[in-house]
Amino acid sequence: MTIDDTQRTAPPATPAATERPSRPSRPARPARRERDPNRVSNKVRLTIARQVMPERDADDRSHTFEEVNLGLTSDIAQVEASRCLECAKPHCSKGCPVGVDIPAFVNKVTLGDLEGAARILFDGNALPGVTGRVCPQETQCEGECPRGTTMKGVDGKPVGIGYLERYVADWASEHLDLLPQPAPASGRKVAIIGSGPAGLTAAGELVKYGHDVTVYEAFHEPGGVLLYGIPEFRLPKEIVRKEVDRLVRQGVKIENNAIIGRTYTLPELREQYDAVFVAVGAGLPVFMDVPGENLKGVYSANEYLTRVNLMGAWREDGETPVLHGHRVAVVGGGNVAMDSVRTARRLGAEEAVIVYRRSKLELPARAEEVHHAEQEGVRFELLTAPLEVIGNEQGWVTGLECRRMELGEPDASGRRRPVPVPGSEFVFECDTVIVAIGTKANPLLTSTAPDLDLNKWGYIITDENGESSMPGVFAGGDIVRGAATVILAMGDGKRISQSINAYLERTPAVAVG
């Protein structure tokens, strides 16, 4: 099926759009993109507005863990895809940390060839159902799309690449069993430590080369932060399980309940495998270091989200408890803070507040997350810093003492430094405080690997190929770069698995058994 003007469901072009001169489309396009005889001209494409992601109603969803974004319908997806101008020199792929051939897969969607789209997508990205949901596309692929920068058309909004990625991934998971052709066994063994986004991506890449891949996971189920960190309403766990299952069916082995540094050590694994990829993340919570932090009702975001997400405390029949706070303060302004505060709303908090010491402009969370939180009734106490957690005689939290801040001169990060407003102290009455101000390196693995060079924050030092100071031991994701995003970790997993493959090609097999 192709799209012509009559099939378009997009809103009509606004006068503003017609006034805007559109550049003539370039004649040369990469050969792999099919030339559609009925192709809609770019002039017309520029009049199509970005399609809106259907969402669950905000009032309803603040009480349920069902996914917020509902996904595009096939009609909307095709319209969205047809907004792509099919640039001769596309920038979107350059903005993708795992290098998905975005124009090619979007083109297939435009043509209605979803299987073709899925093949291209999965070829570049082992976890498209995940990234289609949680990537900050606005600063990556979509940030590079000329429809948001130089050729704005009707609305100046980039092609919804993330929406389309999710659409194709979900379609494929229902309609296809896309497994790459199994490669002949290489006879080489690779251990991957950690089954989060970096580890799973590397597993998918390395198994394609025919290597014998074993992933070690400390928890009872693989997925890492995708399972314990990101809530169900943003990334249904079923999606993660399906993507893991696909890797297992390709031959990836997973050993749960294996804590490297305790159950096994890194040097021990290094002896048993031809190469090791360390992708354990930055799992240690950072606390505020203010009085009262050990009161009952104070959680690290890690603990709060793990109880709810991995352990299923949100379910009626959940066996793992979590406190259902009525008035909840979440300290921090990143995506994890948004996940926590939106979770608190869903667990029944009448008042759920973000306490952040800078202004709205500096909130590190994705705009979409902030927007969703606002829609769901989350309140923002901006330019506010916590001073002390207040408790009662029974040891329960009763409030968070804060003070107001104002923005001063720019600091080392380039952001204006928040400075306290004298005499502005006040107590926010609450029964739960969730600390979401960041994470740091966990020394459990690294402290049992004396030959592994670390920087002063405990992160693993690697060379440009991702190799550490221990030959044959590679590292990537948050344990190298510090707390970052799912997709950057996946980018590392993909890039470094190529280094690992190259390393295996130039070294003799050492592993036994």
């Binding site: 400390a218 804590i259 305790r262 159950t263 690290s300 352990m311 299923g312």
Partner: protein, 275 residues
Amino acid sequence: MNVIRDKTKLSPNVTRLVVDAPRIAQVRRPGQFVIVRRADGAERIPLTITDVDGEAGTITLVIQSVGKSTYDLVELEVGEGIQDIAGPLGKPTDLLEAGHAVCVGGGVGTAVIWPIAQALAKAGVRVTSVIGGRSREWVILENELQTTGNVVVCTDDGSYGRKGFVTQALADVLGNEQVDEVYAVGPVPMMRACAEVTRPLGVKTTVSLNSIMLDGTGMCGGCRVSIDGASQYACVDGPEFDGHAVDFASLSDRLTTYREFEQEALARRLACAPS
């Protein structure tokens, strides 16, 4: 799946399970623990590894039935399995190298003391154990501990051994003999009392803390305890700490965080499936 090879009831609410866990049996050292998850959907709970058999590839867990999860665990029969066992976790015990150690165990804490006493005796340290229970039937592992040295048994009601608390017996040992270190494990008030007995005498006292945990790897921070005023994690920095530095009040407070939830869950379970 970790198959249960043996099951023994040690006291009215304490059960010993011997479970397959070959890798853990191979690398575990005294003082370490595991986190077990009985089945899908079940809680993750920390349990001290009481003993291991490296050849058989088994570990021994001693479980006190206090809530739904522990009731469910001890209901498993020989041949059935525990879905997940992760470990060994925590730092191994910092064992006294020579001299005289007193190992104090209260209730199920005796099962935590047993591997420590065993390791100390094996290293040539003289061991005196002081163990207690409410009454005779609640005293556990007396015979095992006797293989490591002298054992003083106390019961609250005097039905067996001496009448009274383990702290009194500990004070007597300290009064009569040179003691180089005390290891005390049991309910929080007992550990606190032991630490108060030894504090004026300046005898090093190690306690093992059972704070609330999820992952056991330092990731959640839920097990944080205040040690000399600074937060430490029982799962990775402990579970054993200097008893003179522990803020026991905060610890016992934090242990009550989910009491209401736990009581409801247990009541529901007992109502549904009497056993």
